[in-house]
């Protein structure tokens, strides 16, 4: 029985080693650091070249379509970040003035975040607008 068990251990080991190797390589390729707009401003140069995920609010009136992509600004309190969207997919339906957005990409030399992905949700939608303590818990699919 012993040699049998050994063979199974070897097989299991091979599977696990292969997966670990894949995990490490895929991990490096896909990882992105979360930053808020404010954190990004504090870091300055340090974050250049890193793949980032930056969350903030879309500044009202800042969305402009130009030849080289969609331009807008992400804001958080006082800080503000220019973003240029270069991604292939159309912007999500929820992306509009004032919505909460998470953009993914890298900061270019001029300080613009060149985004390849936008996720957005309507932050304002379910907040207490009917006046009162009543904020519903949020939108969603199930």
């Amino acid at each position: 029985m012993r040699p049998m068990r050994g063979r199974f251990l070897i097989g299991t080991g091979i599977v696990l080693a292969a997966v670990l190797w894949l995990a490490f390589t895929g991990f490096d390729e896909g990882k992105a650091y979360y930053r808020t707009v404010e954190e990004l401003r504090e870091e300055g140069e340090a974050s250049a070249g890193k793949r980032l995920k930056v969350g903030g609010n879309v500044e009202a009136g800042s969305i402009v379509w130009k030849e080289d992509g969609l331009h807008f600004r992400l804001t958080q309190n006082e800080a503000s970040l220019p973003v240029r969207y270069l991604g292939e997919a159309p912007v999500p339906d929820t992306f509009k003035d004032g919505s909460q957005a998470v953009v993914e990409g890298t900061v270019a030399s001029d300080g613009t975040l060149e985004a390849v992905k936008i996720q957005a949700k309507c932050a304002s939608k379910y907040e207490a607008e009917y006046g009162g303590e009543s904020a519903g818990a949020g939108d969603s699919r199930s």
Partner: protein, 668 residues
């Protein structure tokens, strides 16, 4: 109605608590009276929950916007159909719905076991009631669907109803989205049945594999709904979200995939326990893990712990989920540990080249995949806790791991049925291996010569041919035997194969569906897309297709206004159809929504999106060419049909053998 619903929920509190205690004590002390009191409590819980759900439905139908949940998920002009389904559009309602389904399963279990498994039933009832208690608790304390819209600071309701509601999220106003949540939930909740039986069996040290046989159909049933739910979700994402894909490794998608992976592993390894009395601990672990992952999935979706496009705002339900999960993990795994002697294996593995060992590797790989998905999904949370910064891992991580794992599983799907139980001899393996391997190599070579060079896609297509061949050979062999021995015609022989052993041959149909799914997945290696602003008369070309915008129109309905392009699609100069991609703006929810149009063929999909209105006043049309997507949906349907066949009770030839009503014989 608000009061009635609330009252029903509050009454559930003592009912579930009393019922759980009565069932447990009744089982422990063998007191028939207490046991039936527990079972009656389950029935009463079901009635109370039904009352509660109906109250909410009535509130929706009567446009009662003084209820916060109704005000936030409906509006007067919403079609009645969607008013009904808004029941599960948000957190509070869907948790109530979860609980109701749980009690529905409870009723079904009580009924089907009224004369069976009487020793286990008190504990099964107790576990179901504890689960119901937990969800009731959450509905009352953290996510109450019967909360008034406006309260003063002391929490006293102010009877104020706005004239109209905020509307249902337009993304949810889609037929697939109407059925997706209940189907998925039936899958999630359904795994509570095997979970409850497994714990009951461990607790009572029930002899034999009785609990496995009692729950096999329930597991399959839940798995079927979970599969269907995932596929409907993918379909919804594809036709509604407008980004041209159906799977993005979003946390919510992962949440439904994880229990599916362990559940699928379970369906396979159960066969080993039935046939050889092995892997008992493993199965107990899988049953428990699958249900807890279902609860965890609901937690991921509902708590907003991992930011996701779908996730809810941060919400207090998180704490309750964590508490319940922690309790579940400690109790279940503690019990498995305490009963490890009872779970000891009756046999050992004989050979690496055996059916048993192929199941072992199947399980190992499913679990590794599940763990990798879990790790990737939770990584932002884990890195935040350990290093103080959130790091997310994107689709490259998930694909890098799961594509090879998927291909290995695809290989096993074809390879394992060729192996004999216990030990396979090389000559027999070579015999059954020859044809599938030859066809696989032929297909691979032809595709390579046709300039298919994407590595994984090439492997995937070749393996698909291999697996499809082995499946067809199984049917051919089975049919041939019946023809020779019983003189049946081919159609009759094949029909009888299914009737004689639905689980085995239904399983092959499921495998065939998986092959089709993989072919569809591999097609995504060849996706193309482009976007351009087109004015009327403008043209754009992609992958042999030309699309021409004929005209642009605008208009409105009571629910939304829209901009629409009329697009004529031609393939190599021949018209194939007229499509109208549209962009809507919903008034009540103040949200835009794209309505995509898809030209779907066996070969490829041409997917048209009205992305936006451009600077020059034209329409920015985004077009995707997605090869073989139709195979995914067809594969999904085949998979579900195969699963349904597996659920068919087996028909025997000759006089029925008494006492064997439970067993169904061989399996893939």
């Amino acid at each position: 109605m608000n009061e009635l619903g609330s009252l029903a929920l509050i009454t559930l509190y003592p009912v579930t608590l009393f019922g759980a205690a009565a069932s447990f004590l009744g089982g422990h002390n063998r007191r028939e009276g207490l046991v039936s009191a527990g079972e009656r409590s389950l029935v009463v819980s079901f009635l109370l929950l039904t009352l509660s759900v109906l109250s909410l439905v009535v509130l929706f139908l009567k446009n009662n916007f003084s209820n916060a949940y109704v005000a936030n998920h409906s509006n007067i002009d919403l079609p009645t159909f969607y008013k009904l389904t808004a029941l599960w559009a948000g957190q509070e309602g869907s948790l109530l719905f979860w609980n109701w389904l749980l009690s529905l399963y409870g009723i079904a279990v009580l009924w089907s076991n009224r004369n069976r498994n009487r020793d286990l039933m008190p504990y099964v009832t107790a576990i179901l009631l504890v689960s119901a208690f937990f969800f009731t608790n959450m509905n009352l304390l953290a996510a109450n669907p019967f909360r008034p819209l406006v309260m003063d600071h002391a929490g006293t309701p102010i009877p104020y109803a706005p004239p109209d509601g905020r509307g249902l999220n337009p993304l949810l106003q889609h037929p697939a989205m109407v059925v997706h949540p209940p189907v998925l939930y039936l899958g999630f909740v359904g795994f509570v049945v095997p979970f409850a039986f497994a714990l009951a069996a461990l607790w009572t040290r029930a002899p034999g594999a009785g609990w496995l046989l009692a729950t096999r159909r329930w597991t399959l049933f839940a798995w079927l709904f979970l599969s269907g739910g995932i596929l409907l979700g993918a379909r919804w994402a594809y036709v509604e979200l407008g980004w041209g894909g159906y799977w993005a490794w979003d946390p919510v998608e992962n949440a439904s995939l994880m229990p599916w992976l362990t559940g699928t592993a379970l369906l396979h390894s159960v066969i080993i326990q039935e046939k050889r009395g092995m892997l008992k601990v493993w199965n107990a672990v899988l049953v428990v893990t699958t249900y807890l992952l279902c609860v965890f999935g609901t937690f991921l979706t509902r708590s907003g712990i991992v930011s996701s496009v779908h996730a809810f705002a941060q919400s207090p339900v998180g704490h309750y989920f964590v508490g319940f999960l922690a309790l579940g993990v400690v109790f279940s795994f503690g019990l498995i540990w305490m009963r490890r002697e009872y779970l000891r294996s009756d046999a050992t593995l004989d050979s690496v080249l055996s059916r048993e060992s192929s199941f072992f590797f199947n399980n190992l790989v499913f679990l590794v995949s599940c763990f990798a998905v879990l790790w990737g999904t939770l990584f932002p949370v884990l890195s935040e806790a350990v290093r103080g910064e959130q790091i997310s891992v994107g689709p490259p991580y998930f694909n890098r791991i799961n594509v090879p794992i998927g291909l290995f599983l695809l290989f096993l799907t074809g390879f394992a049925p060729l192996l004999a139980w216990r030990r396979t001899s090389w000559p027999s393996l070579r015999r059954s291996f020859a044809w599938p391997a030859a066809l696989m190599l032929a297909a691979g070579t032809i595709l390579f010569l046709l300039a298919v060079r994407a590595r994984y896609a090439l492997i995937c297509f070749s393996l698909s041919v291999f697996v499809a061949t082995t499946i067809l050979m199984e049917f051919y062999r089975g049919g041939r035997v019946r023809r020779r021995q019983l003189g049946e015609s081919w159609p009759r022989a094949l029909a009888n194969l299914f009737l004689r052993n639905p689980r085995r041959y239904g399983g092959y149909v499921v495998h065939f569906g998986v092959v089709l799914l993989f072919v569809g997945f591999a097609g995504s290696s060849f996706n193309r897309s482009r976007a351009e602003e087109l004015s009327p008369g403008g043209e754009m070309a992609i992958a042999g297709y030309t699309l021409r915008v004929e005209n642009l129109e605008e208009g409105e309905t009571p629910n939304y206004d829209f901009a629409r392009a009329r697009v004529v699609l031609e393939r190599r100069g021949r018209p194939v159809g007229v499509y109208r991609p549209e962009r809507r703006f919903y008034y009540a929810s103040e949200q835009p929504s794209t309505e995509v149009e898809i030209h779907s063929t066996v070969r490829e999909d041409i997917y048209l999106v009205y992305a936006s209105t451009g600077e020059k006043g034209g329409a920015v049309i985004q077009v995707y060419r997605n090869p073989l997507v139709l195979w995914v949906w067809v594969g999904g349907i085949v998979l579900v049909l195969g699963g349904l066949i597996c659920l068919v009770p087996m028909r025997r030839e000759g006089p029925p053998i008494p006492k064997a009503s439970e067993s169904e014989g061989g399996a893939p």
